[in-house]
């Protein structure tokens, strides 16, 4: 999510502008035959052809995946559910934390900031192990893999979302705050009808990026065998000893889910009118 923060403006014509050319049918046809590009493409294709062991490709049998389509689909659904649940609870917690951060309570702010920074600056895999194996030793309450997995995802997403929500709240124009206090709106009206709707709209693009990165993060729950897509596909590939086929399909499923999330975020952005 950090990486995609600098994707810049969406201008499909940039390559053209860099080359000082206007796109036209003939120009794009000629561009297709541009010598260095075609040479590079052919070189990539030739290298792939040379390095791929075709005798092993021929042995691959993707029919095995069809046989296991039912557990794979259910597991993909489980992945979506776990991510969505963690994300929804995380969003509530995060927005709550961000509101608390805006209130003038001194020591609370340090505590919340520490919470946010701790969860943002440690790897998810360490958090998973810490919650699943470490915490029960101290608290005496042992959690199932699913519980500790969801807990880790929820807590981490709440920290990331609090950070995004804080930025969103601070991006609401000053005039709105002043107007709310000039009208002497009650605190609840001010937050729920003036500030938060605008802040949520501003938050949509980073939320989409975060959703994708948490979908990817949920695959890590496979380490604890939670029962989502990664766990199930690892089990199937162990059982059938056809890891290449199963892993390829798993990767494509994750890719499809991520592309769908990106698409839906774009639609949401358009729907709320932030993008024409």
């Amino acid at each position: 999510m950090e990486a995609s923060s600098a994707t810049g403006p969406r201008e499909p014509s940039m390559a053209v502008h860099l080359l000082q050319e206007k796109p036209g049918v003939w120009q794009s046809l000629r561009a297709l035959l541009d010598v260095p590009s075609v040479a590079l493409t052919i070189a990539i294709a030739a290298a792939l052809y040379y390095f791929i062991d075709w005798s092993q490709i021929r042995v691959l049998d993707f029919g095995i995946v069809l046989k296991y389509w039912r557990p794979l689909t259910i597991a993909a659904g489980a992945t979506l559910l776990i991510t969505l649940g963690a994300f929804a609870v995380g969003l509530l917690l995060g927005v709550g934390l961000a509101i608390l951060l805006e209130l003038p309570i001194g020591p609370l702010r340090y505590v919340i900031n520490a919470y946010i920074e701790i969860w943002r600056n440690t790897p998810l895999i360490v958090q998973l192990f810490w919650i699943h194996f470490g915490l029960p030793v101290v608290t005496g309450i042992s959690t199932t893999a699913l519980e500790s997995g969801s807990l880790a995802l929820t807590l981490q997403s709440s920290a990331y979302l609090a950070d995004i929500a804080r930025a969103g709240i601070q991006a609401v124009p000053r005039g709105q705050w002043d107007a709310a206090s000039a009208l002497a709106l009650p605190v609840r009206t001010k937050w729920f009808e003036v500030i938060l709707p605008q802040a949520l709209k501003i938050m949509i693009p980073p939320l989409g990026n975060l959703a994708v990165s948490f979908l990817n993060g949920s695959a890590l729950l496979g380490v604890l065998s939670v029962g989502e897509l990664m766990t199930v596909s690892a089990k199937i590939s162990d059982y059938t000893s056809r890891p290449v086929e199963i892993m390829t399909v798993t990767a494509s499923l994750y890719l499809a889910m991520n592309l769908l999330t990106t698409y839906l975020t774009g639609q949401l952005e358009r729907f709320t009118g932030r993008r024409p």
């Binding site: 950090e2 990486a3 995609s4 923060s5 600098a6 994707t7 810049g8 403006p9 201008e11 940039m14 390559a15 502008h17 860099l18 561009a31 297709l32 035959l33 541009d34 590009s37 075609v38 590079l40 493409t41 990539i44 390095f51 791929i52 062991d53 092993q56 490709i57 920074e117 943002r120 600056n121 440690t122 790897p123 998810l124 895999i125 360490v126 958090q127 192990f129 810490w130 194996f133 470490g134 915490l135 030793v137 101290v138 990817n216 949920s218 695959a219 890590l220 496979g222 380490v223 990664m230 690892a234 890891p243 290449v244 892993m247 798993t250 990767a251 994750y254 890719l255 991520n258 592309l259």
Partner: protein, 221 residues
Amino acid sequence: MSSFDVSEVIRSLPELWIGLEFTLILVFTSLGLGTLIGLLACLGRLLGNGLLPWLCAAYTTIFRGIPEVVLMFWIYYCGPLLGGVRPSSLIAALIAMSLYVGALLSEVFRGGILAVPKGQVEAARSLGVPEFWVWTSVILPQAFRVVIPALIGVAALTVKVSGIASTIGVTDLVYQANIIAGQSYRYFELFTAVGIFYFFILFPMSMLAKVYERRLAMRSR
């Protein structure tokens, strides 16, 4: 059992040190290779013609859209298809991470180059500045300044992702902590120590990124 036993962590420091070495190898190698791959993919996408930009775009979309764990397992198992030998877990993790970081960085670089105002490039060209200097003294310096926070973010993400290499058996920090904790059942102490360790690497990075972000926002105002 409930008391926090620091001596256990201190006793296992030599093993953790081995893990740290592998973590550092993973992070630095994949950042280096990833920068190279990212630059190539970004330039291919911006300056190439025909199929090449499309190929580069497909590469970034695919490798950013697949979870890192799945990517590592996939490359670990698909090694024999490419070149006929099964890669060791370290090599597989390095390849997976380099490709992943490369995809992230190519998007970052592209974003930076696209963020340079068109007027700058047009002004340089209309002044008759040679194309080489348009790139090296107009586009790239400005693009680099915009991109610094995102670069630090990718480096931090690489550190976080390196822990995942333990799932395919690279003896990095997380793996070592797991092994030691499995023997003494001191999970809480060891993973707290490892978490604190990661935090001390990652927290300064995210603070630095924030400082640069604020500075950029000040300048663009």
